[in-house]
């Protein structure tokens, strides 16, 4: 029996992909294959233009990986752990100290640099492990259950960190059972089940490439809402009633602002007009439910 079969997908740079699926679906195996820790029976894996299976050492300079069962060198200090990780990833000796300082600052470990890793709390150890995975500035960061065992505050900080990394152009793949947590920062969803990719798509729901998904709610019902929206340039109606509508708008925030002005000018009693992100939990259930019914 294969852990993975027929898996094929591409990740766009700067995206955060939520890797979701039931226990035993093959999520960890997939992440380990992407990281070059396990080799698939057949197929190819490419990270930032490097063939992971042919040149795993080169690929490791481009990626970081946090295992769900990670460990840290408990006898070393936080600074030594980070310096060791940087050096192991080929950081130039002159840049190691700066990498340690910057990573510690980013992870909130600056005041712990002299503390032995073995004396850290679970949350701080998790942060240190994440710091070790990203200290060399990888283009792809793979995280297997990164928030397991963290308290709500630490999870929130972690989500903020992932959003910051995404803003810097890093690509992240995050596996977790806690969908609400993934919902905070994921841009894409990769559903895996029985070792096969069930779905891989952006989380903007009905919106296509270059489109923004927007929800419009009126203060009072208007029978002509659908017709009015449909007549507007760049607007595609995803779903609509006489009081609420979800539309896909081609364009950026300026286009969104212009559309709001047009709607108000047309006399629509707009009560709410905001970008809508698809709920990951609902999306996941929608994706796997047909499978469950078949089973």
């Amino acid at each position: 029996m294969r852990a993975l079969s027929g898996v094929s997908f591409e990740l766009n740079r700067g995206t955060v992909t939520a890797l979701v699926g039931p226990n035993g679906a093959g999520k960890t195996t997939l992440l380990r294959c992407l990281a070059g820790l396990d080799a698939p029976l057949e197929g190819a894996i490419e990270v930032a233009g490097i063939d992971v299976l042919e040149s795993p050492r080169e690929a490791h300079r481009k990626l970081g990986y946090l295992s769900d069962f990670f460990g840290v060198y408990e006898a070393l200090t936080v600074a030594q752990c980070l310096a060791h990780a940087a050096a192991m990833q080929g950081a130039a000796p002159g840049r190691v100290a700066e990498s340690v300082r910057r990573t510690a600052l980013r992870l909130g470990l600056s005041d712990r640099l002299g503390q032995a890793a073995g004396t850290l709390s679970r949350g701080l150890r998790q942060r240190l492990a994440i710091g070790q995975a990203l200290i060399h500035g990888p283009e792809l960061l793979l995280l297997d259950e990164p928030a397991a065992g963290l308290d709500p505050e630490a999870r929130h900080a972690l989500a903020a960190l992932f959003r910051a990394l995404q803003d810097e152009g890093m690509t992240l793949v995050v596996s977790s059972h806690i969908l609400a947590e993934l919902d905070e920062y994921s841009t894409h969803m990769l559903v895996i089940r029985g070792g096969e990719v069930v779905e891989h798509r952006a989380l903007e729901g009905g919106a296509g490439p270059g489109e923004r998904r927007l929800r419009l709610r009126l203060a009072a019902p208007r029978a002509d809402l659908v017709a009015t929206l449909g007549a507007l340039p760049g607007v595609r109606v995803v779903e609509a009633g006489d009081r609420e509508a979800v539309i896909a708008l081609a364009g950026d925030e300026a286009a969104q602002s212009a559309l709001l002005a047009t709607l108000l000018a047309s006399g629509l009693p707009v009560a709410e007009f905001a970008a809508e992100r698809e709920n990951l939990h609902d999306s996941y259930l929608r994706t796997v439910r047909p499978g469950e019914e078949r089973a």
Binding site: R2, S5, G6, A35, G36, L37, A39, L41, E42, L53, E54, P56, R57, E58, H60, R61, G64, Y65, S67, F69, F70, G71, V72, Y73, E74, A75, L76, Q80, H84, A85, A87, M88, Q89, G90, P93, Q132, H136
Partner: protein
């Protein structure tokens, strides 16, 4: 600086340890130097310094090296190591010199003391060669322990621990080998190697350097596998052939190199096959990787995925087939009355031995191909013991010696019979293993 070396320096070479080790050793040596009245104070240091060198450098250093990888696995930091951008060469150097760093620090001081004392023992030992042999011997056992530890990394922890204990016995065996060279007067005795005369101790020291080189290369290749760096499987058979050539050189010159090399080659390759069979994991998935690569015509990949034991079994068959030719003129130097029977056995038994190794390898693959394989090596050893000794012994005791010969055909005394029967057993074992593997793992994967 190698990052792994630096990490071990942080861990092992704290200020306290750097000061405490020489202080304690100084006290111990002062105690021995001041006590007793046999020889000078300097001569009295030789014994305790030798023992401490052995204990610290060989026993403790080997233990530290063998534990280095097991500890990483236990502490869940092994993936961090495997994810590094360091190559297998840097990792080998880092672990090999880093893990036993403190043993080298303290053992090095003991070795220096031993050399200092040995210089006061005129005519007994050659200090330079002894030091070289000791250092090379330590590198040899450390590298062997590291390679064995890497081979065992995916095994159950208990097995790894047993392996570590077994490896600790290796230096003892080594000392038993070194002892005679030194006690007999070291440089005074000479030996013949490929017809050339060498003094024993220098020969041993240089040989140990070569063995240490092979062991370090073995650790490097084991790291290649762990780090997913692909290699072609030439190193293991090359090492077997090197051992065979080295040992053939020690044979009496009148035997002839070809004959000696045929015998040592066959033995070295067979031993290498069995060692690899029980140290390099052969799993059903590994077999599948080979089969899949071969089926799509990727011969290079198929060779890269090949387990170690077939790579030494293949030259074993070559030596077995060459044996009849190498021993064609054996009567010239083997002056025995019943030449026909012995000659027949000597020329055909090698082929039977090679078939036996193939059968035993197939038995291991059979157990590895179970739907849920467990304790593959243990089950294989049990069945090999049954086939080689237990069942033939019971049959012989029951008066069924003729039947026992079909189980262990070497009992027949006929090389030809042994080759035919063992060939049939090998074919049967291969057939059963292939059938079981196809049934459990050979089905095309769903698309």
């Amino acid at each position: 600086m190698n990052p792994e070396l630096r990490r071990y320096a942080w861990l092992e070479m704290g200020l306290h340890r750097r000061i405490a080790a020489p202080a304690v050793l100084l006290l111990v040596f002062a105690l021995f130097a001041s006590g007793g009245d046999d020889g000078s104070w300097r001569e009295r240091l030789y014994g305790p310094a030798s023992v401490l060198t052995f204990v610290i450098l060989f026993l403790w250093g080997t233990h530290l090296t063998a534990e280095s990888v097991a500890e990483e696995v236990r502490e869940r930091t092994w993936d961090l190591q495997r994810l590094s951008a360091l190559g297998p060469g840097e990792m080998t150097v880092g672990k090999l010199l880093g893990a036993p760093m403190f043993a080298w620090y303290a053992g090095g001081m003991c070795l220096a003391t031993m050399a200092f004392a040995a210089a006061a023992l005129p005519g007994r030992v050659s200090v330079g060669w002894t030091v070289l042999a000791t250092i090379a011997g330590a590198v040899f056992v450390h590298a062997t322990a590291l390679a064995a530890s890497l081979q065992a990394v995916h095994r159950e922890s208990r097995a790894s621990r047993r392996l570590g204990v077994a490896l600790l016995l290796l230096p003892v065996l080594l000392l038993m080998w070194v002892g005679p060279f030194i006690d007999r007067g070291g440089t005074a005795k000479a030996l013949s190697w490929f017809g050339m005369r060498f003094e024993r101790l220098p020969f041993f020291a240089v040989s140990m350097v070569a063995f240490a080189g092979w062991a370090v290369f073995g650790a490097y290749r084991s790291f290649c596998r762990e780090l997913q760096v692909r290699t072609r499987p030439w190193a293991w058979p090359a090492f077997s052939l090197w051992v065979a050539a080295w040992a053939a050189g020690l044979a009496p010159p009148d035997i002839g190199f070809a004959r000696a090399f045929t015998v040592t080659g066959l033995l070295a390759c067979l031993v290498a096959t069995y060692v690899a069979l029980f140290t390099d994991p052969t799993t059903a998935m590994k077999v599948r990787r080979v089969a899949t690569a071969w089926a799509r015509g990727d011969r290079r990949r198929a060779l890269e995925e090949l387990p170690l034991w077939p790579t030494s079994l293949a030259p074993a068959f070559a030596f077995a087939l060459a044996a009849p030719f190498a021993f064609a003129g054996v009567r010239e130097w083997l002056d025995l009355p019943d030449w026909k029977a012995i000659g027949d056995f000597a020329t055909r038994a090698p082929l039977a031995l090679a078939f036996a190794a193939a059968r035993d390898g197939a038995i291991l693959v059979f157990f590895a191909s179970a739907a849920k394989p467990r304790r593959v090596e243990g089950a294989t050893i049990l069945y090999l013991a049954l086939l080689w000794w237990v069942i033939p012994g019971l049959l012989a005791v029951a008066g069924l010696a003729s039947v026992a010969q079909f189980v262990n055909p070497f009992l027949t005394g006929s090389g030809t019979t042994a080759a035919v029967v063992m060939g049939a057993q090998a074919a049967l074992a291969i057939g059963l293993a292939a059938s079981r593997w196809r049934g459990n793992y050979g089905r095309p994967a769903p698309r």
